[in-house]
C-alpha cells in the first residue's frame, strides 16, 4: 500500500509531505504515501487531488494536531486523514 508519487511540475518550489489515510479512505487509494506538492499547498488541495470529499472527512491532523482544511502545509509535514469515526 505504500507508494511514491511521481512528482508533477510546479511553478516555484515543490515540497515533500507524507499523507496517511485511514478506514474507508484507504479503499482504492493507499495507507501511506510520500507526495510532492507546491509550496503553500493546503490540506484541502491534497484532498481534492485524492478525490476525497471534504464532507466525508471527520478529522485531519498535521503532525498529530487537528487542523482545518484551509491550512497550508509545510515541507516534511505528515497529513493524516480520517472519515467520521467513533468507538470507545
Amino acid at each position: 500500500m505504500r507508494g511514491r508519487q511521481t512528482p508533477p511540475f510546479f511553478i516555484g518550489q515543490a515540497m515533500n509531505i507524507t499523507v496517511k489515510l485511514f478506514a474507508s479512505f484507504r479503499t482504492g487509494r493507499f495507507a501511506e504515501q510520500r507526495r510532492c506538492c507546491a509550496e503553500g499547498c493546503t490540506a484541502g488541495q491534497v484532498l481534492a487531488e485524492l478525490a476525497i470529499a471534504e464532507a466525508a472527512v471527520g478529522v485531519m491532523l498535521v503532525n498529530g494536531k487537528h487542523i482545518a482544511s484551509g491550512q497550508a502545509l509545510s515541507e516534511g509535514d505528515t497529513l493524516s486523514v480520517f472519515p467520521l469515526l467513533g468507538g470507545g
Binding site: 478506514a23 495507507a31 471527520g58 478529522v59 487537528h66 493524516s80 472519515p83 467513533g86 468507538g87
Partner: protein, 575 residues
C-alpha cells in the same frame, strides 16, 4: 401487570416482591441503581460485607421496541474503588427482566453457610437454589450448562472463578444472543456477586407480560425518528458496524494520545498491527463476523466475532479498550495473543481494562517484560488459578503497584485509567479525575469532542473548555445510562438535536409523562450529585479527584503534561 422490585435476602434465602415506590417509578438503569444504593447501602460498609447490596436494573426504555435500548445496570459499593458503582452492559438479560416487569433486583445480606447458589427469574418471580456442579467453572461452561438446564433462549448473568474468589477485578458476564459474553466490567462487581455467593442468575421471559406503554402510537413514531437518526449518522450508521471500536487505535496513535508502555508515550510503533483496519481485514479473511449486535434491537452493531488462524471462534466483543491495553499499554503487537487474552478474561470473568492496566503495572514491576505476549497470557492463567501471584494481580493495578512500591501506577480512586492519555486528551483527564466511579472513560467521553470532532471541537492539547466539556458529557451520560440506551447513541445525539428530542418523546410516551429535555438534564445532574454524596460519606474528598503525579512527566510526541490546578479540577462540581 405492575412492575415490581424484587428483594433477594441471601442471609435468610428468601425473596420478596414489593410495589415500586412512587419516587422510583420514573427511574431506570443507573438512575435507579444509584438511587437505591445511596438510600440503602451504608457508605462506610465493607464492599464484600453484609451491608453492601448488589442491585440490577434495566433502563427506562429497555424491553421496548426502541433501538439500542437493551442495557442493564449493576450497582453497589465497588470492591475495587470503595466508591458507588454503576457498571452497565448489553446482552439479553436486561430485555428479559424488563419484559417480566422486574424494575430492579436488590440482593442483600450474606449466606450463613459456605455454599454457592443460583437465582432463577421467570413470570412467577425469583427462586433460589443451591449450586454445586458449576462452582469453579468458567463463564463459557456456565452459559452452556444453564442453556441446557433452562432452555436455549434463557438470559444469564454469571461470574467466573475470579468472582468466586472475590477478586477486585472480577466482572459479571452477561450472555449475548449467541451465547457468548458481554460484561459488567468495571469496579469489581463480580466480587460483589461472589460475596453474595451467587454463581449465576438465569432469566426466562416465556409468558412475560411485556413492557406497558402509555401511548403506543406516539412511542412508535418517536422510536422511528430515533432509529433513523442512528442509521443516518456516519458513526452509528456505518462506521462502528464496519470497523468496530478498535478503529480508534490509529487515530489515537496519530494524535499522540495512545498510552504506550504503561503511559510513557502517546504513540505505539506496533499500532498498525493491532489497528481496527488490520482487525477488520483479519476477521474477513478468517470467515469471522466484522459486525454483530450485543443485544436484540441493536442497529449500531459495533461488536464482532474474531476467529483464530484455523477459522474457528476465538472471541467476540473484542474492543478497543482491551486491544489498546494489552497492545500499546503492554507493547504487545500481536492481535491473536490479545484475542486469546480476551477469550480467557471472559471465561475467568475479569474486567479487560483493569486486567490490562494491571499487567502493564506487572511489567513495570519487572514480573514480565514489556512486549511479552506469552508472559501476559501466563499471568492471566495465574489469576484464573488463584495462585498467590494470581491473587495479587486479581486485586487490581493499584494494589499491585503498592505491593511493588511503584509510583507509575495509572489509577484514579483505585481504578485503572483507560485508553486515552490525559496529558494529550485533556478532557478525558478531567473525566478520570472527577468521575464518581474512579477512572472511567465512559463516564464523560471527552474523546468524542477532543479527538473525533463529534459534538463540536475542543482542542485536546489545551486546557480551555475541558472542564465544561467533561461536565456536560458526564451529566448527559448519567441520563443516557438511566434510559438503558447504549452509550454509543451519543455519537448521533451529540450531532442531531432531533435524536435527543426523540429520546424524551419515547420516555413520555412510555410513562404518560410530559418531561422536557431540561428535566432529563436535571435528572443527569441529580444522579451525579447523589453518587458524589455517597462517596463523600464513604470518605472520599476532593483530594481523591486527582491524577497520579507521574502525569507531570512529558508525554511525547507533543511533550505535554497534566497541568490543571486543583482549583480548576474542583470547579467541575460547580453546578
Amino acid at each position: 401487570m405492575a412492575e415490581k422490585i424484587y428483594r433477594v435476602n441471601m442471609t435468610t434465602l428468601t425473596v420478596s416482591a414489593e410495589d415500586v415506590p412512587r419516587e422510583w417509578a420514573a427511574l431506570g438503569g443507573r438512575g435507579l441503581t444509584s438511587t437505591i444504593v445511596a438510600k440503602e447501602v451504608k457508605p462506610d460498609c465493607h464492599p464484600l460485607g453484609k451491608y453492601n447490596k448488589l442491585v440490577f436494573a434495566p433502563g427506562m426504555l429497555t424491553g421496548t421496541a426502541c433501538a439500542n435500548s437493551g442495557r442493564l445496570s449493576a450497582g453497589g459499593k465497588s470492591p475495587l474503588t470503595g466508591t458507588i458503582k454503576e457498571s452497565n452492559a448489553g446482552g439479553s438479560a436486561a430485555q428479559c427482566l424488563a419484559r417480566l416487569g422486574v424494575k430492579a433486583i436488590i440482593i442483600e445480606g450474606l449466606p450463613q453457610k459456605d455454599s454457592f447458589y443460583s437465582l432463577h427469574v421467570d413470570k412467577n418471580g425469583i427462586t433460589i437454589a443451591e449450586e454445586t456442579e458449576l462452582i469453579g467453572k468458567g463463564n463459557y461452561a456456565v452459559i452452556k450448562a444453564v442453556r441446557k438446564r433452562r432452555g436455549d433462549k434463557v438470559g444469564v448473568l454469571s461470574i467466573g472463578p475470579a468472582g468466586e474468589m472475590k477478586m477486585a477485578l472480577a466482572n459479571i458476564s452477561v450472555r449475548d444472543p449467541e451465547g457468548n459474553m458481554r460484561s459488567h466490567g468495571r469496579g469489581g462487581m463480580g466480587a460483589l456477586m461472589g460475596s453474595k455467593k451467587i454463581k449465576y442468575i438465569s432469566i426466562d421471559d416465556a409468558g412475560a407480560p411485556g413492557v406497558a406503554i402509555a401511548d403506543p402510537e406516539k412511542f412508535k413514531e418517536a422510536s422511528r425518528v430515533f432509529a433513523k437518526c442512528l442509521l443516518d449518522h456516519p458513526v452509528t450508521g456505518q462506521g462502528l458496524k464496519t470497523y468496530g471500536t478498535n478503529i480508534l487505535v490509529n487515530i489515537l496513535h496519530e494524535a499522540g494520545g495512545l498510552p504506550t508502555q504503561n503511559f510513557r508515550t502517546g504513540r505505539f510503533d506496533g499500532h498498525d498491527k493491532i489497528s481496527g483496519e488490520t482487525m477488520h481485514d483479519t476477521i474477513v479473511e478468517r470467515g469471522g463476523k466484522p459486525s454483530h449486535g450485543c443485544h436484540a434491537g441493536c442497529i449500531i452493531q459495533c461488536s464482532q466475532v474474531y476467529n483464530n488462524k484455523k477459522g474457528a471462534y476465538l472471541t467476540s466483543g473484542f474492543e478497543y479498550e482491551t486491544i489498546w491495553g494489552f497492545g500499546a499499554g503492554c507493547c504487545i503487537d500481536d492481535l491473536d495473543a490479545i484475542a486469546q487474552a480476551d477469550h480467557m478474561m471472559d471465561d475467568i470473568g475479569i474486567d479487560t481494562i483493569e486486567s490490562a492496566v494491571t499487567v502493564g503495572v506487572a511489567m513495570e514491576a519487572g514480573i514480565i517484560a514489556f512486549g511479552d505476549g506469552k508472559g501476559m497470557l501466563g499471568l492471566l492463567k495465574e489469576i484464573g488459578k488463584g495462585s498467590h501471584l494470581g491473587r495479587l494481580l486479581g486485586a487490581g493495578a493499584a494494589a499491585l503497584g503498592k505491593a511493588y512500591g511503584l509510583t507509575r501506577v495509572p489509577v484514579v480512586k483505585g481504578q485503572g485509567i483507560p485508553a486515552y492519555d490525559p496529558r494529550s486528551v485533556k478532557g478525558m483527564g478531567i473525566t478520570y479525575a472527577t468521575s464518581t466511579m474512579g477512572a472511567d472513560h465512559t463516564a464523560g467521553y471527552s474523546t468524542a469532542t477532543n479527538i473525533l470532532k463529534v459534538g463540536g471541537f475542543v482542542d485536546p492539547l489545551k486546557k480551555e473548555g475541558q472542564v465544561e466539556l467533561s461536565r456536560n458529557l458526564q451529566i448527559a451520560t448519567a441520563l443516557i445510562d438511566s434510559t438503558g440506551l447504549c452509550l454509543f447513541v451519543a455519537f448521533a445525539v451529540l450531532d442531531k438535536p432531533e435524536a435527543f428530542n426523540a429520546i424524551v418523546d419515547m420516555v413520555n410516551a412510555k410513562y404518560g409523562s410530559s418531561i422536557t429535555g431540561d428535566d432529563g438534564i436535571a435528572l443527569g445532574k441529580s444522579v451525579l450529585k447523589l453518587e458524589r454524596a455517597f462517596n463523600t460519606e464513604a470518605g472520599f474528598t476532593k483530594t481523591h479527584d486527582r491524577l497520579p503525579e507521574f502525569f507531570e512527566e512529558l508525554c511525547p510526541p507533543h511533550n505535554v503534561v497534566w497541568d490543571f490546578t486543583n482549583k480548576e479540577i474542583d470547579s467541575f462540581w460547580d453546578f
